[in-house]
């Protein structure tokens, strides 16, 4: 017989690699996020457009299906740059929703009760902490933007043949670049707002203000001053503008469809500048707020 004394013992096991340590943050965040039915519901809802798009692609490439639906020779039945851009535009809206839904809670939970010193007293740097939080949102947004879009592209390529693939490969590039830009801008902005305001409710309110109220204000400026520079305050407009140029067919392929002119009131460089400014501002805000200790004067 033996009597076991339950005492605390020092740790002598292996450690996880430092390089991927930051992934602990997303893992925990995802597991608690997807416990919420609202989040799950939205997430699955975000795939509905993909399913519809896949069905559309199938129909476009299947004469039998077209015959069945009495749609032979319909002009809108094309899978081209415009199609993919429209898909991304729809998904951009879902991105908005997601970012506003999960973003504010992400940083403010750590700030609300001053948990940051506990993070930073561990072998994780400020940059890695930010990277972890960034990954939480960016990974989710990726799975609803470029990942399904590329899959749709491959579906189309497999159905339409190698020629189509070769001619339209540039679209895949545009999908990737366009999505990444949007994800980076959105994620950084939402994280910065969440870090700036320590209270989750306030962070959500601020996010809504930035995404909806400020563009409205921009429109008001447009109306009053009879100009269109107010659109600079509208993030979705700006990204739409960038995408218009990214997906703009006639520059490379005369057969491709052209993009609707609605998006080309302002020159491209203004949009790029504005988006860069938003990213820089977000990074600056995060740099100011991500401190383990405030210096008291």
């Amino acid at each position: 017989m033996a009597v076991y004394k339950r005492a605390y013992r020092p740790y002598e096991g292996v450690y996880t690699p430092l390089r991927w340590r930051f992934m602990v943050i997303p893992r925990f965040a995802w597991s608690s996020l997807f416990e919420s039915r609202v989040v799950l519901g939205f997430y699955f809802g975000a795939f509905i457009p993909a399913l519809l798009a896949a069905a559309f692609i199938y129909i476009v490439n299947s004469p039998t299906a077209q015959a069945f639906l009495s749609l032979q020779g319909a002009t809108f039945l094309q899978v081209n740059n415009l199609f993919f851009m429209k898909y991304l535009v729809v998904q951009a809206f879902f991105c908005f929703l997601f970012a506003a839904l999960i973003g504010p809670g992400l940083m403010s939970v750590d700030f609300a009760n001053d948990a940051l010193p506990l993070f930073l007293s561990r072998p994780i740097s400020r940059a890695e902490y930010l990277l972890g939080k960034f990954t939480v949102i960016a990974a989710i947004l990726s799975t609803i933007t470029w990942v399904p879009a590329i899959l749709l592209f491959l579906l189309q390529a497999s159905l339409a043949g190698f020629n189509w693939f070769a001619n339209n490969l540039w679209i895949a590039g545009s999908i990737l670049l366009g999505s990444v830009i949007w994800i980076v801008v959105l994620t950084l902005l939402v994280l910065a707002l969440s870090a700036w305001v320590r209270w989750k409710v306030a962070a959500t309110a601020l996010t809504i203000v930035v995404f909806f109220v400020i563009p409205g204000f921009g429109e008001a400026i447009n109306e009053v001053l009879r100009t269109y520079w107010g659109k600079l305050l509208n993030l979705s407009y700006l990204i739409g503008l960038v995408w218009t140029h990214l997906f703009d067919g006639p520059l490379t392929d005369p057969q491709a469809g052209t993009i609707h002119p609605r998006f080309i009131d302002l020159p491209l460089w203004t949009a790029c500048l504005m988006l860069t400014f938003v990213v820089a501002l977000s990074i600056w805000m995060l740099h100011k707020k991500l401190k383990p200790r405030e210096v008291v004067r």
Binding site: R6, A7, Y8, R9, P10, Y11, E12, G13, V14, Y15, T16, L18, R21, V24, I25, F28, S32, V109, D110, A112, N113, D114, A115, P117, L118, F119, L120, S121, R122, P123, I124, S125, K291, P292, R293, V295, V296, R297
Partner: protein, 322 residues
């Protein structure tokens, strides 16, 4: 024994002011108390060693490794229990400690096991499944301790660990600290304003004042040296006894409630003091060799640096009254 912390001309400036001014010391003990008045730079020192502030000059080494170049490596060896509230309200206790353990490098399975062990160790049972935001103050303190020890650090920074705890909680915390010190090969830096806490747990004490080191001493040795100071508390004390004690050659300070502080002459034995008590039918209800050596050390350190500060003198008088 290898030094735990070595400071060489460490300088830290914040907000335009020099907070730590050329600190030089080598700290070796198992449990080291960190003392100092408000504004002495205690918190800044801890924050610098944790890597929250960059030193502006000089070096600091923990276990022989420079804090500037080996920051990440050191932080896996360190546990930190901050003074202020530090938690994530929406997480359950167990999830929170697991999170911290994994961030410190433990694989998920190990992290789960050790988190539960840590909770058992600090005495939180079913509460670990509740959200930390619902915890009482005492429980929050224990969770802070749990997350500090879960990854088995070699050096533990405890900042006011008994803050806000009621008497049983305080006793429990001090017992835990002593157990950790004695059993697990961890070094502890205990920063506190309660001299009694430091006295009960630490063998060495580092005292800071105005950003400089005012004193660094070993309490064990100090206690051993204080053999001729005793404190007594009498019952039924009378003038006869008082005179007898003084005639034995003792210097006496008589306080209220029958308490007294005596300095015995080197040749005097305890028996003679008791003899005086027996003759005058006085009961000596309490007797011990002076235990408040830490208070003396602290006050001496405050008075001796940079000229006399009125505060230290007044406090010294106040202590005399007690």
């Amino acid at each position: 024994m290898q030094a735990v912390i070595e400071l060489e001309n460490l300088v830290v400036r914040l907000g335009g002011r020099t907070i730590l001014d050329s600190l030089n010391t080598s700290v070796k003990g198992r449990a080291i108390g960190l003392l100092g008045p408000n504004g002495s730079g205690k918190s800044t020192l801890i924050n610098t060693l944790l890597g929250f502030y960059e030193p502006d000059g000089g070096t600091a080494r923990i276990f022989g490794r420079d804090i500037r170049t080996h920051a990440k490596q050191l932080r896996s060896l360190i546990g930190y229990m901050p003074e202020s509230d530090s938690f994530i309200a929406e997480m359950t206790g167990i999830r929170f400690v697991r999170y911290m353990a994994e961030l410190s490098g433990l694989p998920p399975d190990e992290a789960m096991e050790r988190a539960h062990e840590a909770f058992f160790y600090v005495g939180l049972g079913e509460q670990r499944y509740r959200k930390v935001g619902t915890y009482s103050l005492g429980m929050k303190q224990m969770v802070k301790l749990a997350q500090a020890i879960v990854h088995g650090p070699k050096l533990l920074f405890l900042d006011e660990p008994t803050n806000g705890l009621d008497p049983p909680g305080r006793l429990r915390m001090l017992n835990l600290i002593r157990e950790i010190r004695d059993t697990f090969g961890m070094h502890i830096i205990l920063s506190s304003h309660l001299l009694r806490d430091v006295e009960e747990c630490c063998e060495e004490v580092l005292i800071l004042k105005d950003g400089r080191i005012a004193d660094y001493c070993n309490l064990e040795e100090e206690r051993r040296a204080n053999r001729k100071f005793i404190e007594i508390e009498t019952y039924n004390g009378n003038d006869g006894f008082t005179k007898a004690v003084e005639s034995l050659g003792c210097e006496c300070a008589w306080l209220k409630n029958g308490r007294a502080k005596l300095v015995l002459p080197p040749s005097l034995e305890m028996r003679e003091l008791y003899g005086a008590a027996a003759r005058h039918a006085v009961q000596i209800r309490k007797m011990n060799f002076r235990r408040d050596s830490l208070e003396d050390i602290f006050l001496r350190a405050m008075e001796s640096t940079n000229g006399v500060n009125g505060t230290a003198e007044k406090a010294g008088q106040a202590h005399g009254r007690l």
